[in-house]
């Protein structure tokens, strides 16, 4: 397992996407501004959703959908609802934080990061592991339950009641979820033929676009760490680096029980391990405004995201291989 892990880790660390991420992170840390203009960054993220969703749908159409999809969707929903509870507990043990901040951070770790998901699928391709196309749909399902659970925690603990309706519709109508699931359905409808029609856009340049996007993400993350560093305690940083492994291990049995392939298990573990940094922060500004963005954003984007990209994904893959492969 160790050998396999080191091979995986170096293949991952030396792949162009991860190296561009490191370039952006290091550049931002040194004070350079490598971020893409905001409208472009937003478009690239829509492109990634569209491409990954469509390809997932086309793959799902090719292999047919059955009860395994339903089981995986339910597993995803359970994970997204359960992980915040664990995160909330761990945060209580590892750092001194007001309840609202704890609840807000917990929501981020229960939800997911689509870019981490995309990076995981690219890594699977690099190491030659297959994964189920319908995991795209599982990713979409995992975005929201965590938010509800976190709001529930916050309202129980602090008595604060928030307008769940507004927050949920904000998240559901969020362009990334709609594009992801919409493209998945279109991919299912048009199948292989549709894929062939737009291959030149969603497959040919895909990995390169991912490099450009990760350059930007690295720069954003590097900035986040640079400016958010002061507000962090050792306990919080430790949480951001340990929690993903806890989540990944929680996801492992669900992956096995869902009958996923080895690659599929690794991807599900990565989903569980990833933390949101776009949809959930916006929801928190509406639902829990007292919670400080400087804390949840720095943790999820500045620490967890880079850790998952570089070390996390190969570790989860090695574990999935060891257990299931």
């Amino acid at each position: 397992m160790m050998d396999s892990f080191f091979a995986l880790a170096s293949a991952n660390l030396l792949s162009p996407p991860v190296l561009f991420f490191v370039l952006g992170f290091a550049g931002a840390f040194a004070g350079s501004n490598l971020t893409l203009p905001e409208p472009v960054a937003k478009t690239l993220s829509i492109y990634l959703m569209l491409a990954i969703g469509f390809k997932g749908g086309a793959a799902a159409a090719a292999h047919g959908l059955g009860t395994d999809l339903v089981i995986a969707l339910v597993s995803g929903a359970i994970l997204s609802a359960f992980i915040p509870l664990v995160a909330y507990g761990m945060l209580g043990a590892m750092a001194k934080l007001p309840v609202v901040d704890r609840a807000a951070v917990a929501a981020h770790y229960g939800s997911i990061s689509i870019v981490t998901f995309v990076a995981a699928t690219a890594a699977m391709r690099t190491v030659g592991l297959e994964y189920e196309g319908f995991l795209v749909a599982v990713a979409a399902v995992m975005e929201t339950p965590a938010i509800l659970v976190a709001l529930f925690i916050a309202s129980r603990a602090s008595g604060r009641r928030s307008e769940k309706g507004e927050v949920l519709s904000e998240v559901f109508l969020n362009s990334s979820i709609v594009v992801l699931t919409g493209a998945f359905i279109i991919g299912m409808i048009t199948g292989e033929a549709g894929l062939k029609e737009i291959d030149g856009f969603i497959t040919v340049p895909f990995k390169g676009v991912l490099c450009l996007f990760l350059l930007d993400m690295g720069a954003v993350a590097g900035r986040g760490v640079r400016s958010g560093w002061q507000g962090m305690s050792a306990g919080l940083v430790a949480f951001a680096l340990i929690m993903p492994f806890v989540s990944a291990l929680i996801a492992l049995p669900f992956g096995l029980a869902s009958g996923l392939s080895t690659g599929g298990i690794a991807v599900l573990m990565t989903l569980a391990a990833s933390a949101s940094y776009i949809a959930v922060p916006a929801a928190m500004r509406l639902a829990l405004p007292e919670a400080r963005p400087s804390i949840y954003l720095t943790l999820s984007l500045g620490f967890t995201f880079p850790m998952n990209l570089t070390i996390g994904i190969p570790v989860y893959t090695a574990i999935a291989r060891f257990v299931a492969g």
């Binding site: 720069a219 954003v220 509406l286 400087s294």
Partner: protein, 103 residues
Amino acid sequence: MQTFPKKQLTIIFEKPILPRMRRLLDAEGVTGYTIFPALAGRGTQGAWDSEGTLGDTGKMVQMLCVLDGDACDRVLDHVFGLLGGQIGIVTVQDVQVIRPAHF
């Protein structure tokens, strides 16, 4: 040209609550408002920059609303209610307009 005194209410606040703010102003029946994007800034809660920020979290916008003195007081009350835990500042200025009926 004859001019008439009005108040200009300026609110700088975080972008994620923009829909709420618009609903509030619509409910108050102000005749109009305009929203401008901000680029960067600093406040008691630290500095921010729209470049290198993902999504709306951390971005600020400016809402400008020209209205009657009375309406201004009423709207101010509600705006303060809304801004509660949120990030933002509010100012009021005197302005002159030409077509008072429009506001």
